[in-house]
Each structure stands twice: as structure tokens, then as C-alpha cells.
Symmetry: C2
Subunit: 100 residues, 2 copies
DNA sequence: TAAAGTACTTTGAAATTCAAAGTTAATGTG
DNA sequence: CACATTAACTTTGAATTTCAAAGTACTTTA
């Protein structure tokens, strides 16, 4: 019988990507700076983790100008939401097992 | 306000270490081969992840002979249990947030 | 014209993880 | 006794991931 860890998704292995996704599960269109401040990461680092999630088509991007400033926002795609839900279910099982 | 990911413990970032700990939370003294088979990893890889947890004093080791064969078992220390519980609580919050 | 803000990209280094092979000590087999 | 085998590692070197720091493009504000 295989252990639950085999059902965890590598795309969400990193805490920052976990954080990005957990924010995007409950908020539609969150912008770069909000993510940056909420997760307390440098912009370069955030950008690279976002890029990784984008590459898997787990999130989509919207670029526009707000108050004459560039503003980039992100939201989870349905593929992203589904993949993340699966990941959370695996985590939940692991959690429940660990608590008896 | 800081995001919950800042409360995740880096020692448990890796899925294999997460698996080891989740097994040791509910089983006292689990041996090397059981861990190896349950988590489906090579012995070298398992040994190195165990070593990392040992270094943090999150688990302790017992070596003896069973049926004339060497048998090494592990269990979580109370420090390990506490640290893992904190980690699980952070994960749980993240999980609940992501599910609304 | 110069400075500042946004959202990156690039670079190179540090850290982590990995497979594969080698090791040690004890036991089992011929 | 010689040799193979098993358990549990350790070592090595390479691949992968992650990081900080610096650089960039575009636009707005002073």
C-alpha cells in the first residue's frame, strides 16, 4: 500500500508556491505587489515561482494600468484549482493520519 | 499580517521527511525497511533524510538484532513531535483558508 | 531631464537532492 | 573456511532547485 506522500503534487512542494496558490484559491485576481507583501518575498523570487506555476498552466495573468501605473494580477486556472484541491486532499489525509 | 507559510518548518519541507514524520507520529519504533517500503524510496535516500531529521533531534535511533539480523528502528522525539504538530497546525490553517 | 515605480529577466552561486556505487559488520551456505 | 548475502548505511559527483543581486523596459512624476 502506497503512502499518501506519493499523491502530493511537486508543483506545490515549495512553500512560496503553496502560499501563492492558497491565496489564489480564495481571491480572484490578486496583484503582484499584494502577493509580494503577503508572502514577504523579493520580487525576483516571487516572479520565478509565479513563472513556474504559469508554465504548468496553474495560473493566468492579466496586465493593465491602474492609476497610470502598470498592474499585473494573477488568478488560478481551473486546472490549477483542481490540481491544488487534489494536493490539499492528500495533505488533509496525511494530517488526519498523523493526528491518529 | 504575515502569511501562514512563514510558520511552516523547513525541516519538514520535503515530502519524504513529511512522510517519515507522519508515520512516526502514530507508530512507536518503526524500522528502516518498513519506512523504506512504505515510502517507496531507495535506502541511500531514506538514510540521508533520516539523518537530516536526526541532526535536528527530531528522531532517535535504536539498533539491535532481530532474528540474528541487524535491525534499526526510529521514533520521533518529543521535540520532533512538537515541531511536527506546529507544522501540521500551520498546514491545517492553510488548508482551511484555501477551502474558505 | 532626471528620478522613481512596477514587474520582471538574467546571472552566477549556494543549497538541496539524487542515483549509483562502495562500505561495514554480521549471518547463512557449501 | 571461503564466499555470498543482508541491513543499513556513507560517499561521491552530478543534476536540480533555489537564491540574492543586479540589470532591464516601460511609464509616470518632479
Amino acid at each position: 500500500m502506497k503512502h499518501i506522500i506519493t499523491q502530493l503534487n511537486q508543483a506545490f512542494d515549495h512553500r512560496i508556491r503553496l502560499g501563492i496558490m492558497s491565496i489564489l484559491m480564495v481571491n480572484d485576481w490578486v496583484d503582484f505587489n499584494t502577493l509580494k507583501e503577503t508572502l514577504d518575498v523579493t520580487d525576483g523570487r516571487l516572479a520565478s515561482h509565479i513563472k513556474a506555476l504559469e508554465k504548468d498552466d496553474y495560473l493566468e495573468v492579466r496586465k493593465r494600468f491602474v492609476k497610470r501605473k502598470p498592474n499585473t494580477s494573477y488568478r488560478a486556472t481551473s486546472a490549477g484549482r483542481n490540481a491544488f484541491k487534489d494536493h490539499l486532499n492528500a495533505l488533509e489525509q496525511l494530517l488526519n493520519n498523523a493526528k491518529e
